[in-house]
């Protein structure tokens, strides 16, 4: 099995960008939902989404006023903004376009169609009226792409690097989504008083986790249990622990995997030390920051081991 380093890098990024597009759409959809449940007058600002996506500098480049319209215009309408959904989709498309020899034809067609959809729909999906439908479309189309990849790709190197990209991005985005709930900004505004269970329910829903949570934990959504669930539940495919286990499984058959596996081990230790009951919102936020730094290290290790290898 031959896998060019450059191709490995591109399929890895393709998977990351598709996951990023899906999870950004999930994040916006969840917040969109939440806002409609919050009593008038105490609504938190939309800029929290910008902050969670580390997109403050990008936002300032495009806009002055931090309001709903501008945040959504950034995330849905601005194809050139690195944090936007159309940007992620376009980047995914460029990566598939340059690796069509290892990716099934249907995937190219689906990614291409997703690209055409996000480009065409961008303008009229910023407003509340069409927004939800747009976000659902993006999520669904990404899921179809993942479904085709899973049901058609040989379990070889290309599959491994696709999975690595997807799981790494997903772990990153899952922690970011939880960060919405951990934001001290929300607490300070007093926006979520009395509707905390709604907030956490919405966040679970954005990860399609609400049903699973109810079956396993119970009907009442409560902060600590919800955070525990999406961080630690090893059977739930979007939990951080599930992603880390998956990353470890994909790394194992690769040659030259020592450095990456060491970072995975650090990540597992970090997760074992997680105690939701002892954490307030700000401690949770700090914990998520640390997790994200380790995810960054993992990416670096993958990059150094495989994407720039093979020099003779």
């Amino acid at each position: 099995m031959i896998m060019l380093s450059r191709v490995a890098e591109r399929v890895y990024w393709m998977a990351r960008y598709i996951e990023r597009a899906e999870d950004t759409a999930r994040l916006v959809a969840a917040y969109n939902h939440l806002v409609m449940d919050i009593p008038k007058g105490s609504q938190p600002g939309w800029e929290i989404l910008v902050r969670i996506l580390d997109a403050d500098p990008v936002f300032d480049e495009w806009f002055n006023v931090r309001n709903e319209q501008n945040v959504l215009r950034l995330l849905i309408g601005e194809a050139d903004a690195t944090c936007s959904i159309p940007y992620a989709v376009h980047a995914a498309r460029e990566n598939v376009r340059t690796t069509r020899d290892v990716i099934p034809d249907e995937v190219w067609e689906l990614v291409n169609e997703l690209y055409l959809y996000t480009a065409d729909a961008a303008e009229h999906s910023v407003g509340r009226r069409n927004r939800q439908q747009y976000l659902e479309q993006v999520i669904q189309r990404c899921q179809v792409i993942n479904g085709v990849l899973r049901s058609t790709l040989c379990r070889d190197h290309s599959y491994r690097f696709i999975m690595l990209g997807q799981l790494l991005e997903r772990a990153d985005m899952t922690t970011r989504i939880i960060d919405v709930g951990a934001s001290d900004f929300l607490e300070r505004e007093g926006a979520t008083q009395g509707i905390e269970h709604l907030l956490w329910g919405t966040l679970l829903k954005s990860m399609s986790a609400l049903g699973a949570y109810r079956r396993m934990i119970g009907p009442q959504v409560e902060k600590n249990a919800a955070v525990d669930f999406v961080f630690m539940e090893e059977t739930f495919p979007r939990s951080v622990r599930f992603c880390v286990r998956g990353i470890q499984d994909e790394l194992t058959p690769l040659s030259n995997n020592k450095a990456s596996l060491r970072v995975v081990e650090r990540m597992r230790r970090k997760l074992r030390g997680f105690e939701s009951t002892s954490m307030d919102q700000s401690a949770l936020h700090a914990y998520i920051d640390e997790l994200q730094l380790i995810i960054g290290d993992l990416h670096q290790a993958v990059y150094e081991s495989w994407f720039h290898s093979g020099e003779g």
């Binding site: 060019l4 380093s5 450059r6 376009r97 291409n112 690097f161 690769l254 040659s255 020099e311």
Partner: protein, 482 residues
């Protein structure tokens, strides 16, 4: 739709589907009948379906412009072009013969140069060409074949005969669109296949693989073959990916390859270096190896030439094969066939005046308004003057160009390119077209069934290049008595 076809007037040109009387040619009858029976809005709906299919399949080509590179949807006309197998088989044999002679010529030029010594071709016409690469002198690629992939452009004149217009021996492109055109026709006009036995075209990638595998210097059951592309911004990138995928080969860029101390070529993979046996290069030789050719090339692989000359890797087309891809050399191909093969040329060439010959030049300068003047080394339809369509000022401009650099210009009589019914707006109109078949050669020779038909979409125009707004048609070689 019927009234449209009845209004279709065959012109003074040869029409591929319709006779001068206005009736369909025998081979085209079932297709024309079906198309005639389709209501206008149905035909329009199918054209839309074809456009959607092309967009979704991502069949595209890249156009360079001042505003950057644009990825454009492939232009496609619904109405197929139909050729009988009997007629095609004659053309095919002619192309095989031509390709064999051209390869013997290239090998001769870089080795014994007998054709010069015997006075058939004047040496300076070849040795002074920019396409002649002295780095290749003495090289001996497998089977003595240099141009493993040849894309020859054919046109049909008003006498009904096919003529070779030029031979593309460097990095000819278009074959992927030949395959995709068939795929699109199958999707949007499935009924039309019921009454025909049409030779398939989608075996091209496997024929290409077979031809390339024969070039492997190592005796392996499955040699490592790569397609070398300049990258995503190349106009034919779609095709490079298409062919790599069709062959199960790696699509590589220069930076993916390196030449080791043992002169072998390796590619960088996640499991470390892997040796490469055969390179199908889709990158111009000038950019292939900064050690041997242009130093400033960032696209190539340093040492590639050295590896090839030492027989460590097979390269198709071999560097230097462009020496026969020259409009001056073209004029000598019939002589080459007689000289090397001792055969009569089976397919016609267009009479060609070489401006470097004093008598020819005089004739050309006196008859510019009748002739097509072409620079010897350009491709893509650039720098051509079509005499009858050009004004006096352009004639004067070209007269100056020719006098300044006669070696660089040839002239040919204006051919009356054949036409075919083409769906323009809501109407069926005659449009000029050409045909590019592809000839593969290593251990043996193989020709595509038909090829890529390109159409000049503008009324009266002879310019078929897609980079200049041309379209394309599915091309059928039809078996059996019709």
């Amino acid at each position: 739709m019927d009234k449209n076809w009845n209004r279709y007037s065959a012109t003074e040109y040869y029409d591929e589907l319709i006779t001068p009387k206005g009736t369909p040619r025998q081979v085209a009858r079932p297709a024309v009948k079906l198309l005639k029976e389709l209501p206008t809005d149905d035909l329009a709906a199918r054209r839309t379906a074809a456009e959607v299919a092309i967009r979704e399949m991502g069949v595209s080509f890249t156009v360079y412009s001042e505003a950057g590179n644009i990825d454009r949807a492939w232009p496609f006309d619904l109405i197929p072009r139909v050729i009988t197998a009997r007629e095609w088989d004659k053309v095919r044999r002619g192309l095989e013969q031509r390709s064999r002679a051209l390869n013997m010529f290239i090998h001769d030029v870089y080795n014994k140069q007998k054709i010069f010594a015997d006075g058939i071709v004047p040496p300076e016409t070849v040795l002074e060409s920019t396409n002649f690469k002295e780095q290749c002198l003495g090289a001996s690629p497998r089977f003595g074949v240099w141009a493993n992939i040849c894309g020859s452009d054919l046109v049909r004149d008003s006498d009904g005969h096919f003529y070779v217009l030029e031979d593309n021996l460097r990095v000819p492109s278009g074959v992927s669109y030949m395959v995709e055109n068939r795929e699109i026709t199958k999707r949007v006009l499935p009924e039309i296949f019921e009454n025909y036995s049409i030779r398939p075209v989608d075996d091209y990638p496997s024929q290409l693989y077979r031809m390339l595998a024969a070039l492997s210097p190592r005796d392996r059951k499955r040699p490592v073959i790569v397609v070398l592309t300049p990258g995503i911004y190349n106009s034919a990138y779609f095709e490079h990916a298409f062919l790599a995928q069709g062959m199960g080969a790696e699509l590589v860029e220069g930076a993916d390859l390196f030449v080791g101390d043992d002169d072998c070529v390796y590619m960088r993979t996640v499991d470390g270096p892997v040796q490469v046996d055969v390179i199908y290069r889709r990158i111009d030789e000038d950019f292939m190896d900064p050690e041997a050719f242009r130093e400033d090339s960032a696209l190539g692989v340093p040492g590639l030439m050295r590896s090839w000359l030492n027989g460590k890797v097979g390269i198709a087309n071999a560097p230097g094969s462009g020496v026969a891809d020259d409009k001056v050399v073209y004029a000598f191909v019939p002589d080459m066939i007689r000289y090397y093969l001792k055969e009569k040329p089976l397919i016609r060439s267009v009479p060609t005046y070489l401006c470097m010959r004093e008598k020819d030049r005089e004739y050309v300068l006196n008859n510019l308004e009748k002739l097509v003047v072409k620079p010897a080394n350009e491709s893509g339809g650039y720098g051509i003057m079509v005499g009858p369509h050009a004004d006096k000022a352009t004639h004067r401009k070209f007269a100056k160009l020719i006098e300044k650099n006669p070696r660089n210009y040839i002239a040919q009589p204006t051919l009356s390119l054949s036409t075919a019914p083409t769906y323009i707006g809501d109407e069926i109109k005659p449009r000029h077209l050409d045909l590019r078949p592809f000839i593969l050669q290593s251990r043996d020779t193989w020709v595509t069934s038909g090829g890529l038909t390109r159409v000049a979409m503008v009324e009266g125009s002879l310019v078929v290049n897609s980079s200049q707004g041309g379209g394309s048609k599915d091309t059928w070689i039809v078996e059996g008595r019709l």
